[in-house]
């Protein structure tokens, strides 16, 4: 078992954003979390990787690193691509001792090749397109060989071809690293092409759990509304307040 979430609850002020959510993701498996904007999807990722602490519930992860690919890449704009990817190797004492500078350069080149961006080590993030930035952030995420990879809307804002490319990399990284992956997304193509299982959140609660095929069968009122992008249905826009 790589990621297990049990009865998770998180409140922001008086508003409950995650309400008793539980799920499991095994090694080599990808779980897609879908739902309305503001339904608590990204909050779950932040809780899993420790950026937020839950009010109650439990998160059990396998030993080892958890990596996260952020929605807007979150590359360090003052560092070039090589330094971005090697950031953890340079800054973490135990990794700095483990690898020489030559080995770090080799690892960076390997990771860049894995995401199809060979030879751009000296470029800065501002010189790259959105899709390339996203792929560099993939390379940065996997440099510590994590046991779990979290993706926060990895294909948001990308053209369909770049989205397909990113989806392919998600599948490839899962196969190469055998990591447990969680993908937060709105896009149907990302769900169908990358996920083994899907959970759907509404108002902080899980309203559907199943395979992408089951989601498309539209037996569930929530998934039916989501797939058909209908305004009519059980899900109404949640007020920010």
């Amino acid at each position: 078992m790589s990621i297990e979430v049990k009865n998770l609850i998180k409140n922001f002020g008086e508003r409950r954003v995650i309400d008793n959510v539980s799920f499991k993701v095994n090694n080599g498996e990808t779980l897609a979390i879908v739902g309305f904007s503001g339904s608590g999807k990204s909050t779950i990722l932040k809780l899993i990787c420790g950026l937020l602490t839950p009010d109650s519930g439990e998160i059990i992860t396998s030993e080892g690193d958890i990596a996260m690919v952020f929605q807007y890449s979150a590359l360090f704009d003052s560092l070039n691509v090589a330094d971005n990817i090697a950031f953890a190797l340079h800054e973490r004492k135990e990794l700095r001792k483990k690898y020489s500078e030559k080995e770090i350069r080799k690892i960076v080149a390997e990771k860049l090749e894995l995401v199809g961006l060979k030879g751009i080590e000296n470029k800065f993030p501002s010189e790259l397109s959105g899709g390339m930035q996203k792929r560099v952030s993939f390379a940065r995420a996997i440099v510590t060989e994590p046991k779990s990879i979290l993706y926060d809307e990895p294909t948001a804002g990308l053209d369909p071809i770049s989205s397909t490319l990113i989806e392919d990399y998600i599948v490839r990284l899962k196969d190469e690293t055998n990591a447990a992956s969680v993908v937060v997304t709105h896009q149907m193509s990302t769900i169908t092409r990358t996920a083994n299982r899907v959970i759907m959140l509404y108002d902080g609660k899980v309203v559907f759990e199943g395979t992408p095929e089951e989601m498309l069968q539209q037996d569930n009122e929530y998934t039916k509304q989501f797939v058909t992008a209908s305004l009519e249905g059980p899900m109404q826009m949640i007020s920010e307040n």
């Binding site: 932040k46 990787c49 420790g50 950026l51 690193d65 958890i66 990596a67 996260m68 952020f70 929605q71 807007y72 979150a74 590359l75 360090f76 704009d77 950031f87 953890a88 800054e91 973490r92 940065r140 510590t144």
Partner: protein, 289 residues
């Protein structure tokens, strides 16, 4: 029967009391006094919260420095930013302040027969206060605001979240080189700025009142005390670290996009100004009362 009657009256009284209290509370909450008081309390709570967070960050920075968790390359880069980049504006501000003070003071003192004390007065004034406080203001405007906006931008673009997810201590990575460079670079900047202040004071005194350079510098030497210089350097050391710590902290807790970056920058500048004036007051009370 009587008991039931008394109980009914008690229930009714309780109901009426609750109703009266609730309408009173409603009325009270709409009053200007309540709004002002709650506004002040909210601001006080925010102030104490920020102060607490800054203190915790300060303790973490000191811990990292004591454990020698310092990135020397980054420290040199930040020292260059803090010292070298800020030098032109700091020297201009201290120099111009000295021109203003000397032009007001020199002529009057020469007229009153106190020309021999102009250098002494200017030197004491610049070394004790003008050099360090005006350098502080210049560094807040130039470096403090830039530190706050840089770190706030990193916060709102999730770069700090990325640092945390990669299991790197953001205080060590972001705060330590910046705060340490503040401690290291502020004293030499103040020393150079004070020297420039004394010299521009001499030129101004000469131009406005015809006071000779020799007379000015002879009395200026008399005004240089080791204690004053030591206190000035100690103040500069503290101001540098405090400005960097406040600026980094304000940026670190920013939220809400471009507006949040702007607010963090403003907060950093205001807090740093207030902090160094308060610190300066304590130094004056501790060493010159």
């Amino acid at each position: 029967m009587v008991n039931v009657f008394i109980q009914a009256i008690a229930i009714k009284t309780h109901f009426l009391y609750n109703q009266a209290m609730s309408s009173l509370q409603k009325y009270y909450k709409q009053s200007a006094t309540y709004k002002i008081a709650s506004g002040i309390l909210k601001e006080l709570e925010k102030f104490l919260d920020t102060l607490g967070k800054m203190s915790l960050n300060g303790i973490e920075v000191i811990k990292c420095i004591l454990r020698w968790q310092i990135d020397i390359k980054e420290l040199i880069e930040q020292c260059s930013r803090f010292g070298v980049s800020s030098l032109p504006i700091t020297l201009s501000i201290v120099g111009m302040t000295s021109i203003i003070v000397a032009s007001q003071v020199a002529l009057e003192m020469v007229k009153q027969g106190g020309g021999n004390f102009v250098g002494l007065l200017m030197t004491i004034l610049i070394i004790r206060e003008v050099g360090v406080i005006m350098s502080g203001f210049a560094i807040i405007s130039m470096i403090g605001s830039s530190l706050a906006s840089e770190i706030a931008t990193m916060r709102v673009t999730e770069q700090i979240d990325a640092i945390e997810v990669l299991k790197v201590n953001p205080i060590r990575y972001l705060f330590v080189p910046r705060v340490l460079s503040g401690f290291i670079m502020m004293p030499p900047v103040v020393l150079i700025a004070s020297a420039v202040g004394v010299i521009t004071g001499a030129i101004t005194a000469n131009l406005t009142s015809g006071l000779g350079y020799r007379a000015y510098f002879d009395s200026a030497w008399l005004g240089i005390y080791m204690k004053d210089l030591g206190v000035s350097m100690l103040k500069a050391f503290c101001f540098g670290g405090v400005i960097a710590l406040i600026s980094c902290s304000c940026g670190y807790y920013a939220s809400g996009g471009a507006k949040g970056v702007g607010e963090a920058t403003t907060k950093a500048v205001v807090w740093s100004f207030v902090a160094i004036v308060i610190l300066d007051m304590f130094f004056a009370m501790a060493f010159f009362f």
